[in-house]
């Protein structure tokens, strides 16, 4: 076999006289022409495994044990000079953030040429021809070879990076979360590209991901990693038909989807064990609801359940002794929205001026939000969906008046937010709050959690005395499922999910009626995402909160939202009840989004990645598969069709 074989990899980090192993005994193999997905939550050691294979471990970490063979070569025994030939040659790696992996002061062609010169000794016209061939192979126009990375879109950059990596004609390509930073539509294209290249070139692909659906679309075999070990290793069909390790089963059951609407999502109790935990038995035992005494005493072996299907669990060889069954997940009721609109947004627009020249004259306007209207009732969740850059976040900030809108009105209850000034505006702010995407930048690292929670109350509920405020803090923490002792600690002591809970508690402190959630779970692992979604749903049930839920994750939207509004280039193109929109999209853009979502087999035809329509026509025309002549000349208006609205000439 000429593929990649990794055996018993152990990566160690030495701190304070102790040796910790973030990767502890990982074995896997990637055959030529095969795609293996290495799947796990953040911190499980999957990226370190990839870096160890490339021998690019960060300072302080080292390969303590194990063997990696690429064909006949023993990678860990090579001297560094020989390894430089292998790296980017027979073994290449694509990183998550394409902007950071491409040199900003070299053109794409130069960067590919550099790899060609090193690994294939090509120069001059031969190199030029090869660069064009490679660019075309990754679906880029050959003219782009003279472009600098900043001139390319995110998807184009990732394609250019893949072209650079292909220059050495690798036998094995490692892709570390290659699409995590990209929109779903672009993600689908990149995944399709990787799949095609892998088939055409007979290349092995080691795909590192946290997304089960991506693995489902791409992989031939899947390795599930937990706390530095592979816990399950199986062919894709077998794994998705019946996962056997309790951790894998949990990963499946925490995933939200439209079919599970109203259900309370399962959750994995506890958190990932921190690095340096001393394990006496199974690493998952503490969080496993099927564990028994043996799990805590004896580390399970890697048992073969069916041919090629391994799992690291005692259940494989011994049935679980009878004991109290774990309680089934309580199923909650979906919240029913009330009829009275709480938030009414009408023709809201935010235009940013584009200034040019010495005198900074306004040369044009960027219409980030361009005439958006919608309503949200109390107790209702409206999901706002769209690709990055479509104006979702600007819209949210304009509603909160963190940005001054250019035109239009926002009414919350009986007051027009746009007309309020000073004290009245401040008081109204208490009724609408926001939860941000990144739980690490949304909490001030220099303030204690208690101070963070009190700050909003101090500003917006001045009627509360200091003692009352202090008394409210533990109540709030308990509502979001945190210990009261958390109030005295600083944000850095908490994990991402806990920080997001703190951010939610901070918003709840001022008793809002509307909560704007700006991608609140996209930076979190799936098991933590389930906890946050459950929390949001519980709060809605208890307090009748209305949510404006901004997301690009359609599975989450289908699970949580009552209604969906799809946004494209600053305008709404479709709105309607979530179930109806997800089942039967009316706008071609909505359809594209739904079809691009991972987990559907990547079967769709290539869509145009970007491009603008004419000034007058439909902004989506350039990417639309059903484009018609009038789409290019007339802007379709948002039309009402029963309980839905759509802006498309095809639906007139």
């Amino acid at each position: 076999m000429t593929g990649l074989v990794l055996r018993d990899l152990r990566v160690e980090i030495a701190t304070g006289g102790r040796r910790l192993a973030p990767v502890d005994g990982v074995s896997l193999s990637v055959a030529p022409g095969e795609c293996v997905a290495l799947l796990g939550e953040s911190g499980c050691g999957k990226s370190l495994t990839a870096l160890a294979l490339m021998r690019l471990l960060p300072e302080g970490l080292r390969i303590a044990d194990g063997e990696a063979r690429l064909g006949e070569t023993d990678l860990f025994a090579l001297p560094e000079r020989a390894m430089q030939q292998v790296r980017g040659g027979r073994l290449a790696m694509v990183f998550q953030e394409p902007m950071l992996s491409l040199n900003p002061v070299m053109t794409v062609g130069q960067q590919i040429g550099e790899a060609l010169a090193v690994h294939r000794a090509l120069a001059g016209a031969a190199a030029g021809a090869e660069i064009r061939r490679l660019l075309e192979a990754v679906g880029l126009s050959a003219d782009l070879s003279a472009s600098y990375p900043f001139q390319l879109s995110g998807g184009q950059r990732q394609r250019a990076l893949i072209a650079t990596m292909l220059a050495g004609e690798p036998r094995i390509l490692i892709a570390d979360e290659p699409t995590t930073a990209l929109d779903v539509t672009v993600q689908a294209q990149i995944l399709r590209l990787l799949k095609r290249l892998q088939a055409e070139r007979g290349m092995g692909l080691l795909l590192i991901t946290h997304d089960l659906d991506v693995a489902r679309d791409m992989a031939d075999r899947v390795a599930i990693m937990y706390a530095g070990q592979i816990v399950e290793w199986a062919p894709r069909e077998a794994l998705f038909a019946g996962p056997v390790h309790p951790y894998t089963q949990k990963l499946f059951s925490v995933l939200p989807s439209a079919q599970r609407r109203g259900e309370r999502l399962d959750h994995i109790p506890g958190t990932v064990p921190p690095l340096g935990t001393a394990f006496s038995g199974c690493r998952f035992a503490d969080r496993c609801d099927q564990s028994w005494a043996r799990c805590r005493k004896e580390a399970p072996g890697f048992h073969e359940r069916a041919p090629g299907h391994f799992a690291r669990c005692h259940l494989m060889v011994e049935p679980r002794p009878a004991g109290p069954a774990s309680a089934p997940a309580a199923s909650g009721q979906a919240v029913e929205a009330q009829a009275m609109p709480l938030l009414r947004v009408q023709d809201l627009a935010v235009h940013f001026p584009q200034r040019k020249g010495l005198l900074r004259r306004v040369a044009g306007w960027i219409k980030a939000v361009d005439g958006v209207s919608f309503e949200i009732a109390a107790g209702e969740t409206l999901a706002l969906v769209g690709e990055s850059g479509c104006g979702k976040t600007t819209l949210a900030r304009a509603i909160l008046r963190l940005i001054e809108p250019t035109a239009g009105s926002v009414r919350l209850g009986d007051a027009a937010i746009g007309e309020l000034q000073g004290e009245a505006l401040r008081r109204k702010r208490a009724e609408m709050q926001i939860v941000f995407q990144d739980p690490f930048s949304s909490l001030n690292p220099r303030m204690r959690v208690g101070e963070i929670l009190e700050e909003g109350m101090q500003a917006l509920r001045p009627e509360l005395a200091k003692a009352e405020r202090k008394a409210l803090v533990p109540v709030l923490l308990q509502q979001v499922g945190l210990d009261a002792a958390a109030a005295l600690r600083y944000p850095h002591a908490f994990s991402g999910g806990q920080r997001q809970r703190i951010a939610i508690a901070r918003a709840l402190a001022v008793e809002p009626r509307l909560l704007i959630c700006d991608e609140p779970t996209s930076a979190l692992d799936v098991s933590v995402q389930a906890q946050i979604l459950n929390l949001l749903q519980g709060l809605q049930r208890e307090r009748g909160l209305a949510y404006l839920f901004i997301s690009h994750n359609l599975a989450v939207v289908g699970y949580l939202a009552h209604r969906v509004a799809v946004m494209y280039r600053g305008r709404l193109v479709e709105t309607g009840p979530a179930a109806a929109v997800m089942a039967e999209p009316m706008h071609p853009y909505t359809r594209l989004l739904l079809e691009s979502a991972p987990g559907r087999g990547l079967g769709v035809a290539e869509a145009v990645e970007a491009g603008t329509g004419g000034e007058a026509g439909c902004p989506f025309a350039a990417r639309c598969r059903e484009v018609q002549p009038r789409c290019l000349v007339a802007m379709p208006a948002l039309r009402r069709l029963n309980d839905r609205q759509v802006a498309c000439h095809l639906r007139e």
Partner: protein, 471 residues
């Protein structure tokens, strides 16, 4: 009131005490906040950091002793109200009284017994000869000039013994404290102090302290009887001048920062946070200020101050007050010209911070701008300020020397390293060369600046967020 002295608080003293108070307040604040304490604990674990901290502390102690000023009472006639002298002295002057009072006629080399210049001498038999006269104080206790080497060696050994004894006492006290904190027998604590790898930084500090104590012991034994670093043109002890210069150097390094910080903090953070026209105005201001050659601006400002001081003699009751005001003025003008760098840095940081989501969240709560600035932005630029201040310190000490050399620095009558170098400049051409004045200024300044730089390095390393991830 019949005090034997009258306390005098000069402007620079007041500012220095203010600075010390701010420092103590800052320390207490740090102790109470975990996230602030952690990086300082890292400084405490750095060997270089602790060793240089000891050196800096010794300098600071000398500087503070030299800032406790008073006017001694004149010997008064009975029944008359007490009169106080015109001369302002400091506690350091009191402690180093022999150094201050033992003034020779002119230059003499370190440990010399004779002046450096020939004079006409009348011998006991009435003959006139031209020779190097004996010093009035340097080695005056020796009956025979040949005893000098032995006497110096004897005194040095006694001094070293004193130093070692004191150092041993300090080590024992440290071991005792360690034993009490860890509840272990003192013997074990001593072994731990000598061996434990986690106490390496403390060992470095103790070693540095021992070295300094040994040095101080010898100096105390010798300085009263010899001019250990020679004398200058008017016969003043150079070692005493170098000691007095410490205060000047420290004041320039720290007071300038104190004056600069409010400008830099307020303007830099405001420019970054508010943006728009506020940013434009502040940027124009510091760009303009940066375009004026610094030395020119400083020279002009100092000369204006000089003229003011000379035309208003009635405002100053002592000469010390006069030269002190000039020093404060120099600090102020150095502060005004040096805030731009830090302000620019803070502007960039505030630009970044204001887009962060916790600031957005605070705005969504309707928290006032001033409160956002003080609670959200300022604490998050603190590490930058600290690193800049510590790094700038050594640059300012050197700047004082350069400016005094050029003649626009501190008052020529004030002891400062710059003035010492300036005074030594002309004598370098003399044959045989007068080297000790320059060497003394260089030595004292070099140790201070080197310590400050090394300390700044370990502070920067401790506060570097990237260093945390390295193991």
């Amino acid at each position: 009131m019949n005090l034997p002295f009258q306390p005098v608080v000069l402007w620079s003293d007041a500012l220095l005490f203010l600075l010390v108070a701010v420092l103590i307040g800052f320390l207490l604040h740090v102790r109470r906040h975990e996230h602030l304490r952690a990086p300082w604990a890292r400084v405490g674990q750095s060997r270089v950091g602790m060793a240089t901290a000891v050196v800096l502390a010794v300098y600071a102690a000398i500087g503070v002793l030299d800032s406790l000023h008073f006017r001694p009472a004149l010997p008064a006639e009975p029944g008359q109200p007490v009169q106080y002298g015109n001369e302002v002295l400091s506690v350091l002057d009191l402690m180093a009284k022999p150094l201050r009072s033992q003034v020779e006629k002119t230059y003499s080399a370190p440990f010399a017994l004779h002046l450096y210049a020939k004079e006409n001498l009348t011998l006991a038999d009435g003959r006139q000869v031209r020779d190097y006269p004996r010093l009035k104080y340097g080695g005056a206790h020796l009956s025979d000039e040949r005893e000098r080497a032995g006497d110096i060696a004897r005194r040095a050994v006694v001094g070293v013994a004193w130093g070692l004894g004191l150092a041993a006492a300090v080590v024992l006290v440290a071991a005792g404290l360690l034993a009490r904190r860890n509840r272990m027998p003192p013997g074990d604590a001593l072994v731990r102090l000598a061996r434990a790898p986690e106490l390496a930084a403390l060992r470095s500090a103790l070693l540095t302290l021992t070295l300094l104590l040994v040095l101080a012991g010898s100096v105390v034994q010798l300085a009263g009887h010899y001019h250990i670093l020679g004398t200058d043109k008017v016969g003043q002890d150079v070692f005493y001048l170098a000691l007095k210069s410490i205060r000047t150097g420290l004041l320039i390094g720290t007071l300038t920062t104190l004056i600069m910080l409010p400008f830099a903090l307020f303007l830099g953070v405001a420019a970054g946070y508010y943006g728009g026209w506020v940013d434009d105005v502040i940027q124009y201001l510091y760009t303009t200020l940066n375009s004026i050659p610094g030395v020119l601006l400083i020279a002009a400002a100092v000369l204006v101050a000089q003229v003011y001081i000379e035309t208003h003699p009635e405002l100053f009751d002592t000469a010390a007050a006069r030269s002190d005001l000039r020093l404060v003025f120099l600090c102020a003008i150095l502060g005004v010209t040096s805030w731009t760098g830090l302000a620019r840095l803070l502007r960039g940081e505030a630009l970044k911070l204001r887009e962060l989501e916790y600031i957005q969240a605070a705005r969504a709560f309707g928290v006032s701008h001033l409160r956002i600035l003080s609670r959200h932005i300022l604490p998050n630029v603190g590490h930058l300020v600290l690193i800049t201040v510590v790094i700038d310190f050594s640059g300012l000490v050197l700047a004082e020397a350069v400016l005094s050399y050029v003649g626009v620095g501190v008052d020529p009558a004030m002891a400062s390293w710059g003035n010492m170098i300036n005074g030594a400049r002309l004598e370098l051409a003399r044959e045989p060369i007068v080297w000790w004045q320059l060497a003394a200024a260089f030595l004292f300044m070099f140790v201070l600046v080197l310590s400050a730089n090394l300390f700044a390095d370990s502070v920067r390393e401790a506060f570097d967020p990237r260093a945390e991830r390295r193991t």
